[in-house]
């Protein structure tokens, strides 16, 4: 993980995860979820079954109230500590406060909605990977680290082929260009295989040279054996055959899309953020993967740090009292949220601003970056941000998708701003952050995290050294 992550990882998080992974899998087994061993070091946990059983457990547990169809719009602090969240009941449009001694952010990723093409979504529908958790933490004053580190991966160009993404053998290629020339036939030679930044940069350059579209052509390969009997895999294979996209019968066009954010909210091994009472787990936390996330490690991250955050937050809540939630802050947030429903002279839809943002990200904050492009992107993002007060939505309260989208977008643009500032700051190339104006990895100057927080209503950037807790690039070299 650490060599794959180009030594930008928070090694304490890495060691903690490695030490806890097996125990976390055992705990999942206690939920009666079928776990299949697929290789020496990996297991397959069916995510649907896990989610369904976990939800059932929560519903049946006395003392847990599950609020579904509820959108948290912001975090509230009292004297520097978390005191609750503001939320909107999407079914009724009622705005309310949840007073809390501790809050765990488990809001997932941020790059699905930021780019026009993404692996996060099989069919081009909202992924919920929009960085709202990152942005709420940032607006509350938490530190975000290494937000420039965004993993891009090859994805099928035709949305209905995205189901193929789940089969590791598909990504082994061979990859060919439009002239039928082999671009890469040995993906296994890259650390991280098709998830490698070096491999993705190679594909990107091939497209830049005008040799696209690119394809995976497995028509002459022997079909792989069916592998372990896993129901969800079997269902997907059936779906693939129904859709007429079997890669052994068709050449599959591929492109490059966003996949995962390695950066996120700064936490320690206890999942504590820099705000007392606020915890973060899963993709929303930063620092674990450094500059590259290896395949299979985000599930482990989710369960190990999810269990940990739950325990830590419960312990914290036991020791603390509720804090009074400041009314003026709540009123400001309520006015902001309901402001989207008001009619305006100057008006714009969230979907139009989102399209503009995605174009900026795709053009200037993608696989290969440079100062000029990033400056241009920053200007564009700030200009979009200035248009947020003009966002309008149809005026009704129950299950108003446009309203939820406007609230989401107002947070997403903050996350995009943090990403572009971090990318401008890192003047070197490491992992998935490639700067054509600084093409080399610079361990002398840049074994440092980019750290962004909000200070006096302004974005403030700092750099903090990577702690080489167990592994050092000098020694490894």
């Amino acid at each position: 993980m650490v060599t794959g992550g180009c030594f930008l990882n928070d090694q304490r998080l890495v060691w903690y995860m490695a030490s806890q992974a097996e125990g976390a899998i055992e705990k999942i087994r206690e939920f009666d979820v079928s776990i299949t061993r697929i290789r020496d070091i990996s297991v397959c946990v069916p995510p649907g079954e896990l989610l369904t059983k976990l939800r059932k457990l929560i519903i049946q547990s006395p003392g847990i109230e599950l609020l579904e169809d509820t959108l948290v719009t912001g975090l509230i602090k009292t004297n520097g500590n978390i005191s609750g969240v503001t939320a909107l009941d999407l079914t009724t449009g009622a705005f309310f406060v949840i007073q809390a001694k501790a809050v765990v952010l488990a809001t997932g990723g941020l790059v699905g909605e930021l780019y026009p093409r993404t692996s996060n979504n099989p069919f081009g529908i909202n992924t919920d990977s929009s960085g709202t958790g990152h942005a709420m933490a940032y607006l509350a004053g938490a530190e975000l680290i290494d937000m420039e580190m965004i993993q891009f991966v090859p994805i099928p160009a035709n949305p209905s082929c995205l189901n193929l993404r789940y089969f590791p053998d598909f990504w082994e290629g061979p990859y060919i260009n439009r002239h039928g020339e082999i671009v890469e036939s040995n993906v296994g030679s890259y650390q991280g295989k098709s998830y490698s930044h070096l491999f993705v940069q190679k594909l990107y350059r091939e497209l830049e040279k005008g040799n696209g579209p690119l394809f995976i052509d497995q028509r002459n390969l022997k079909k792989p054996s069916a592998g372990p009997k896993i129901r969800s895999w079997h269902q997907r294979r059936r779906l693939i055959s129904k859709l007429g996209i079997d890669p052994h019968e068709n050449k599959i066009e591929i492109t490059i899309g966003s996949h995962f954010g390695m950066g996120g909210i700064r936490v320690n091994e206890k999942t504590e953020t820099t705000i007392p009472g606020l915890f973060a787990a899963g993709e929303v936390m930063g620092g674990l993967h450094g500059g590259l996330r290896m395949a299979g490690y985000s599930f482990t991250q989710m369960i190990v740090f999810g269990f940990k955050a739950g325990k830590q937050a419960a312990q914290y809540a036991l020791e603390k009292h509720f804090l009074e939630v400041p009314d003026p802050e709540v009123d400001v947030e309520k006015k902001r949220v309901f402001g989207f429903l008001l009619s305006k002279d100057d008006q714009v839809f969230a979907r139009d601003l989102k399209r503009q943002l995605q174009q900026i990200m795709q053009h200037d904050v993608f696989v290969i970056r440079d100062r000029n492009g990033l400056e241009e992107a920053k200007r564009g993002i700030l200009s979009i941000k200035s248009r947020i007060p003009a966002l309008i939505v149809p005026d009704f309260k129950s299950f108003n998708l446009e309203w939820a989208r406007a609230i989401e977008f107002s947070l997403m643009i903050e996350a995009a701003h943090v990403i572009v500032e971090s990318a401008l700051a890192r003047e070197e190339s490491r992992g998935f952050h490639f700067r054509s104006d600084f093409p080399g990895q610079d361990n002398q100057r840049w074994l440092r995290h980019t750290v962004i927080k909000r200070h006096k209503n302004q974005l403030a950037l700092d750099l903090s050294p990577v702690e080489l807790y167990k592994m050092n690039p000098e020694v490894q070299a």
Partner: protein, 110 residues
């Protein structure tokens, strides 16, 4: 393969409507599309007031897009409609658990 898809969608906002009704939409499609993509396009391009669960795992996993499509309960994310075809989309349950249009409360009976 380009053609028009006709979609009849069940509409009902209990806070303003006397009774449910169907609204018809037409979409131009280049290729077959899932019912969920169709609804998403209608909401995006034609009628921003349409309500449905627009989350999509695409794998029959989250079950949030379960609807009645041509009178049968199906997953909207995996039900494909071809250009030239017509389709009727209704909520999975009505009036039980109904919220608005195609959105119903999540089931707790799993």
């Amino acid at each position: 393969m380009s053609g028009s898809i006709t979609v009849k969608v069940f509409r009902f906002d209990p806070s303003t409507d006397q009774r449910p009704y169907f609204k018809e939409y037409q979409l131009v499609a280049e290729e077959k599309m899932s019912a969920l993509v169709i609804l998403n396009r209608i909401q995006h391009e034609i009628d921003p007031t349409l309500s449905f669960r627009n989350y999509c795992c695409g794998l029959q996993m989250c079950r949030s897009c379960l609807m009645k499509i041509d009178h049968k309960k199906r997953f909207a994310c995996l039900t494909l409609v071809k250009p030239g075809e017509s389709v009727i989309i209704e909520p999975a349950t009505f009036p039980d658990s109904h919220i608005k249009d195609l959105a119903v409360k999540p089931s707790n009976k799993e």
